[in-house]
């Protein structure tokens, strides 16, 4: 009991320090660093959506970039027409959620690869649509907007102000999502992910919860789109790019699926690694990013969020070896069986198992 409380206060302090860092960082950093921090906040929200569908509910979604793009386009259109920003933000959440729900009503009847194919179609259809409806989207040249300038009373520079705006959006999104996945709905997601027959037997409709998960993911994608426009001030068909979706899925697996902290780590990975790779050699960024991705997957198959546990495991194995006891084969799984189930049903998960 004493130990638990101690740990709890440690966590609280850690959280408080994290919050202070988040608030103070932009004041002492260059516009470039602030832009990176803001982008992390943007993609953390999009990644949170991916994690709710894939990590928590165990469904495949390769279409998150389509909702990101949709949100950004709605925001751009609203800003250009001078709509109130709060209304724009609400629309950025509601419209993608509605689209996501419509798609999910049909798609959630499928599973596995069939579902993956449907979700892949979203960015693939979205890009030509964005090019075609140039009155709404600005065509392939994209849409440039200039808004969300720092108000005079704040005494902040634009990059700082925009960072705070997207940070607030991200914090609200994370708090709501955290409560969601820890509550009744989260338990329903987990059971749908584990075994749909069991879920049905318990009175949980897998279909309804899958649709719900997709709707929430699309909503978060749309909100991330709004944040994206706040930070980048530009959107084009490239925003919907299928590669963004794939990279988001990779970042989710790397951060740690079904984990809030993992989502944040994944977003940091998503934004920072290309920058680091560019610092090493700009002509070889793809190669270096790929190598880092493989390294993380081999060393931490459960993602960056599992780093503390992994370290404990390794040190435990070491002491086992010293005492001469042969570690049972299932010890890594056994160690984590107390934690909520975490392996998403995607090809990457199979690789994880093989890697182990």
């Amino acid at each position: 009991m004493e130990k638990l409380l101690a740990r709890r206060s440690v966590r609280l302090v850690a959280l408080a320090v994290f919050a202070v860092v988040l608030v103070v960082a932009p004041l002492v950093s260059s516009p470039f660093i602030n832009y990176q921090l803001a982008l992390i906040a943007v993609f953390a929200v999009a990644l949170l959506g991916v994690n709710i569908v894939m990590g928590y509910t165990g469904q495949v979604s390769l279409g998150q970039s389509a909702f990101l793009g949709l949100g950004a386009y709605i925001a751009a259109y609203g800003v250009k027409n001078g709509w109130p920003l709060l209304l724009v933000l609400v629309l950025c959440a509601v419209l993608p959620a509605a689209v996501g729900m419509l798609v999910a009503l049909a798609a959630a009847r499928l599973r596995g690869l069939a579902l993956a194919m449907i979700t892949i179609a979203l960015p693939i259809i979205g890009i030509p649509l964005a090019r075609r409806f140039s009155d709404f989207t600005g065509g392939s040249g994209g849409a440039t907007v200039s808004f969300m300038k720092a108000p005079d009373w704040s005494g902040l520079a634009n990059d700082q102000w925009r960072y705070y705006v997207v940070l607030v959006i991200a914090v609200v999104a994370f708090l709501l999502a955290r409560n969601l996945v820890r509550g009744r709905v989260g338990r329903a997601f987990a059971i749908v992910k584990e075994n749909e027959a069991v879920a049905l037997a318990m009175g949980v409709s897998p279909y309804r919860y899958k649709v719900l998960a997709f709707t929430i993911a699309s909503l978060l994608g749309g909100v991330a789109g709004f944040s994206y426009l706040v930070v980048v001030q530009f959107t084009s068909p490239e925003t919907l790019s299928f590669f963004t979706s794939i990279n988001l899925v990779a970042a989710m697996v790397i951060g740690g699926s079904a984990s809030i902290a993992g989502t944040i780590l994944g977003a940091i990975y998503f934004v920072v690694v290309p920058v680091l790779a560019g610092a090493v050699n700009s002509a070889r960024t793809a190669l270096i990013s790929g190598a880092i991705l493989l390294a993380v997957l081999f060393l931490l198959p459960r993602g960056l969020a599992s780093l503390p546990r992994r370290v404990r495991q390794l040190s435990a194995r070491k002491s086992h070896g010293r005492t001469g006891a042969t570690a049972p084969h299932n010890s890594p799984d056994g160690a984590s069986s107390a934690a909520p189930p975490e392996i998403p049903e995607i090809p990457a998960a199979n690789e994880e198992r093989q890697a182990r």
Partner: protein, 423 residues
């Protein structure tokens, strides 16, 4: 209960710490920005990125991903020119000093958000100007930031009209290349000048680029005997254009305007049309007309004539092997540019010429400031940059046109391109 008090106390302490940190650091940023404006207030005070013996430039282009070929070349050509000149002693500036010019290049994977990020990074590193970046969406995303921060974003490697047509609104942005509209118009003019009835089939990308291309073509053939008998479009994500080619072949048009910007698709067009026995004269856009990557794999020699447009001599073509400028380029590229890419696309030659335009601007710079640089850059007329074909000159004085004007129509002669005078 005791623990509860403890945690609230801890949170309180952290909060106080945070607020005081906020107050302290809040001043820091304000101070730096204050000195920044103070510095630029002095008339001849140097802009960031320039000292008495050096100047730093930045570029962000796609160096990985599907557009990596042209993107790498847009860096490699410029890098080659700058490094060769640095090795030869450096650049002479209008203020009498000689400086070496350093180029920092970053990869944006053709992603607008990444391009803005790179721009911010380069700006933070203290570049003097952002030059020669490739890509329409990426440059469009950077444009408002560059103009807000008053950083030159110039000689951009893109054929979109956006970057040069309104230099009053965006005084810090300036394109390098003739637009797609101009290119389409050049083809149209050749046909219209033929003075006889010609039927044309068009195949264009279903977006602004394709539309610009066709609009230029249409404007040039208006009122002539040239008639468009069939049109088809495609998406860049298409894997084959066989059905479009078959549809257009049914028109039996004399000429095909194949404004396809994706290399493998253009090769597919060339092979498909001859497979089904349709042998029109073909117009290829400048970005998909390279003999080694398009015409040879597409067996283009089967057609009665292949036209394209060109701005520059082609360094990899034997036709220009004895040209002095080409020799200098090839030697320098071998030494510097090949570090970045070894595959030639026209962008290598364009960005090499861009280096010479920059040199010209440096010569006119009387103060070590960005303002002086922009003034000098916009005062170049009738300049012949190396590798540019005869008749294509640099004129930077128009406020609604890119730096390079004029397009040379060329015809494939079995080995390389030679100037085409008539249809």
């Amino acid at each position: 209960m005791r623990n509860f008090h403890k945690t609230t106390r801890v949170t309180g302490a952290v909060a106080v710490l945070g607020i005081s940190a906020l107050l302290v650091t809040g001043c820091t940023r304000a101070d730096t920005s204050g000195t920044g404006t103070g510095a630029s207030a002095g008339a001849a005070e140097a802009s960031p990125g320039i000292t008495d013996d050096s100047l730093s430039l930045g570029i962000s282009s796609p160096l990985s991903g599907p557009t990596a070929g042209p993107g790498s070349c847009s860096v490699a050509g410029l890098y080659t020119y700058l490094e060769a000149k640095n090795a030869a002693g450096g650049f002479e500036f209008g203020d009498g000093k000689t400086r070496t010019v350093k180029l920092t290049y970053l990869d944006d994977v053709y992603d607008p958000a990444k391009a803005v990020s790179n721009f911010r990074q380069l700006e933070g590193d203290g570049i003097f100007a952002y030059v020669g970046a490739l890509g329409t969406p990426t440059n469009a995303a950077v444009m408002p930031v560059a103009n807000e921060e008053k950083v030159p974003q110039v000689l951009l490697v893109t054929g979109a009209t956006t970057f040069s047509k309104d230099q009053k609104t965006n005084p810090w942005t300036f394109g390098l290349l003739p637009t797609y509209f101009d290119e389409g118009a050049a083809f149209g003019k050749l046909l219209a000048d033929a003075g006889k009835a010609v039927t044309v089939a068009t195949l264009a990308q279903n977006d602004d680029y394709g539309k610009d291309y066709l609009a230029g073509f249409q404007s040039a053939i208006e009122g002539s005997d040239v008639k468009v008998v069939g049109s088809a479009t495609y998406e860049p994500s298409d894997t084959t254009l066989d059905s479009q080619v078959t549809e257009l072949a049914a028109t039996k048009a004399d000429t095909l305007l194949s404004a396809v910007s994706v290399t493998p698709l253009q090769v597919g067009v060339l092979t498909r049309a001859q497979d089904i026995g349709w042998l029109p004269r073909i117009f290829l856009p400048s970005n998909t007309s390279t003999p080694a990557t398009v015409i040879e794999p597409g067996q283009g020699t089967a057609y009665p004539a292949l036209y394209s447009t060109s701005l520059t001599k082609v360094p990899v073509s034997p036709a220009f092997a004895d040209d002095e400028e080409v020799k200098a380029y090839n030697a320098a590229f071998e030494k510097y540019g090949s570090k970045i890419t070894t595959t030639y696309t026209p962008h290598c030659a364009w960005s090499y010429a861009e280096g010479a335009i920059l040199e010209q601007a440096f010569k006119g710079m009387t103060d070590p400031t960005r303002d002086s640089f922009m003034t000098a850059l916009h005062s170049i007329t009738g300049f012949h940059a190396p590798l540019l074909l005869d008749g294509i000159t640099v004129d930077t004085t128009a406020t609604d046109k890119p730096a390079i004007q004029g397009i040379q129509l060329v015809q494939y002669n079995g080995k390389g391109y030679a100037p085409a005078s008539k249809y």
